[in-house]
């Protein structure tokens, strides 16, 4: 069953009178529960595509459906609500809120977005803290933990609302090789544990092979897709 369906998706950015076509008619499908990566050099359109799938932007042309919702139909408020319910985000720079502790950062989407009741909220946060191995760091602030730990917290925050899809834009770009592998393995482990679909972008050849489905992007065009062990 396809969670994401893209049909001839185009994205054009306009700066003054200059037009830049970041995506030139991209079509693909992402199945629920899969572990997918978009690979390509800088400027290939990876981030643009992830932004579109994440309902942070709308395509200029074509159709993009995420969890049976046409991304183009969402406005600022409904888009926020949709993201809060269906999508989790992991950022390259971790983007944890510095005024909140590790526990509170993970709790934030349940508290401020889903408005989950406290007992259920705390139970879920503790579950995620244990899952990402950060239970003993729960009360530390982001500036008191390492980059790898921050990304583990970010993974937990992305998963805490039990979303159908987690998007990670270059999640290992700011991490050393060992930590990068650890984070990718954690994401895979979370997919196995919670059945969440993971989509991430990378241009790091060491990480690419960890994905089960790899889509190759170049100059805004999908050059090809491969399943681990064969062409998709």
């Amino acid at each position: 069953m396809s969670l994401v369906i893209a049909e001839q998706v185009r994205k054009v950015y306009r700066t003054g009178e200059t037009e830049v076509e970041a995506l030139k008619g991209v079509s693909f499908q992402i199945n629920a529960g899969s572990f997918v990566s978009f690979v390509g050099p800088s400027g290939s359109g990876k981030t643009t595509l992830l932004n579109l799938i994440g309902c942070l932007d709308a395509p200029s042309a074509g159709t993009l459906t995420v969890a049976d919702t046409n991304v183009a139909s969402l406005n600022r408020t409904t888009g926020a609500a949709f993201r809060g319910q269906q999508i989790g985000f992991i950022f390259q720079d971790f983007n944890l809120l510095p005024v909140l502790s590790v526990f509170e950062n993970i709790e934030y989407p349940l508290l401020m977005v889903k408005k989950t009741a406290e007992p259920e909220r705390h139970k879920r946060v503790r579950e995620l803290l244990a899952a990402v191995g950060m239970a003993d760091q729960a009360h530390k602030r982001p500036d008191q933990i390492s980059g790898g730990q921050k990304q583990r917290v970010a993974v937990a925050r992305a998963l805490v609302t039990n979303p159908k899809l987690v998007l990670a834009d270059e999640p290992t770009a700011n991490l050393d090789h060992e930590t990068a592998f650890m984070v990718i393995n954690l994401m895979k482990q979370m997919r196995d544990q919670f059945g969440t679909t993971f989509v991430f972008s990378t241009h790091d050849p060491r990480i690419v092979g960890e994905a089960e489905v790899i889509h190759h992007l170049e100059d805004g065009i999908l050059k090809g897709s491969e399943l681990k062990g064969g062409v998709a």
Binding site: N51, L56, R76, T77, A80, F91, M112
Partner: protein, 412 residues
């Protein structure tokens, strides 16, 4: 909402020095307004009290046109006995009038048998006059604080100039309405301290002596000074009395009487209005201080946290919640400034009162400053600060809530 407040407070505390500076600025603004309002309103109230309670009364009633010619104290514009009866009937009907005093105002020649000078005099019933202007006896700097027939209270400067002391005999010569001149001997019973404002350098004689001196067949009065039970009801009672007086017309159908409040007759009213205006100006400055300082700090906060705004927007925080996060930050700054400012302001007012600071007003010296702030003023200043804080935060908060997450996340 508690979570929004918690996050807002933590965001304020992440830049402690900046928050402290802004809060201090707001606090200082509140303190300045409170202390200025307390001191200026106390000064104003004391001055008004000096003017109304020592000579003018709160209201004065004259025959129509008298006030326009008051400098010449025209006897031909006095109120006839039947007019006075009508006025008494009106005054006794109105609740809220504590006392009233009919006066005969006239000019005369004051002689100590060696020298002669001019004097303005009030012929008064001492019981009614002291009830209407209770601080008048306090102005007697030497002699008795009473006034009986054959006695005169002489203004201080005139007594000094004419070398007159308590117990001396003097002669007052006055011309009556028909032009005949009459003289009468008086014993100086007291020396009156001069007061600022109209009538502050007048002498006082007994009402019946004035009637006799002016050879009035029946007493005709120049004015009635009125004292109200509560000064705060001045405007309301003025309107009621004006309406009642308006029904009394002469044969031509024109109003017989005119009513003036102390504000209409005393130049100090303009100073009082200026003080009110300055208070408004100071409050406007407070608004500017709060507006600029909080808006500045909140614009900075939004600019510094663009990526954070992008993050929370991306993970699904509704725009209204993002807006609330910033509004509550501004509100907390304003509330803190208002609360601390009120406490410090009240403290300074207490210190001012304990210091027993004195000041002079006109001829009066050694008046002790009793600064006081009304609870309504504290509430008003606090409301101004809180409302302006929220208004100052509105623009940055709206900007944050309208930010496109994708652009905010790209911000470096």
């Amino acid at each position: 909402m508690n979570n929004v407040i918690k996050i807002a407070i933590r965001n304020l505390l992440r830049y402690k020095r900046r928050t402290a500076l802004t809060a201090t600025l707001v606090t200082l603004g509140v303190v300045f307004v409170l202390v200025f309002t307390a001191v200026s309103s106390s000064f104003k109230d004391m001055m008004i009290s000096q003017i109304t309670d020592s000579m003018m009364g709160h209201l004065q009633i004259h025959r129509k046109g008298y006030v326009a010619a008051i400098e010449s104290l025209p006897l031909n514009m006095n109120i006839k006995p039947n007019g006075f009866e009508k006025l008494e009937a009106i005054l006794t009907q109105h609740k809220g009038i504590a006392a009233y005093s009919p006066r005969i105002k006239f000019g005369g020649m004051f002689s100590n048998f060696m020298e002669t000078t001019n004097i303005r005099l009030n012929g008064v019933d001492p019981q009614k006059e002291f009830a209407t202007v209770p601080l008048l006896p306090e102005r007697v700097v030497s002699g008795a604080k009473t006034l009986n027939r054959g006695e005169i209270l002489v203004p201080e400067l005139l007594a000094r100039g004419m070398n007159v002391k308590v117990g001396d005999t003097i002669v007052i010569v006055a011309t009556n309405q028909s032009g005949s001149v009459n003289g009468k001997q008086f014993r100086v019973n007291g020396i009156l301290e001069s007061a600022s404002g109209p009538g502050g350098r007048d002498g006082y004689v007994h009402f019946d002596d004035a009637v006799e001196l002016l050879r009035m067949e029946q007493p005709e009065i120049s004015e009635i000074a009125v004292r109200l039970t509560s000064f705060n009801s001045l405007t309301k009672l003025s309107k009621q009395l004006s309406a009642a007086l308006g029904t009394e017309t002469n044969t031509l159908g024109k109003p017989m009487f005119e009513l003036h409040s102390w504000e209409d007759l005393s130049p100090f009213a303009k100073i009082a209005k200026m003080l009110n205006l300055m208070t408004i100006f100071i409050k406007a400055m407070l608004i500017a201080i709060v507006l600029i300082s909080i808006m500045n700090v909140m614009i900075m906060a939004v600019f510094e946290r663009i990526r954070e705004i992008g993050t929370i927007a991306a993970i699904g925080t509704p725009p209204a919640t993002i807006r609330a996060l910033f509004l509550v930050e501004g509100l907390c700054l304003g509330l803190f400034g208002a609360v601390v400012g009120n406490l410090v302001g009240i403290g300074i007012i207490l210190i001012v009162n304990l210091s027993k600071l004195t000041f002079s007003f006109g001829q009066q010296t050694g008046l002790v400053l009793q600064a006081a702030i009304a609870p309504s003023d504290i509430i008003m200043v606090s409301l101004i600060v809180v409302v302006v804080s929220v208004l100052a935060t509105l623009q940055p908060a709206l900007k944050a809530s309208k930010m496109e997450p994708i652009e905010a996340l790209r911000h470096v």
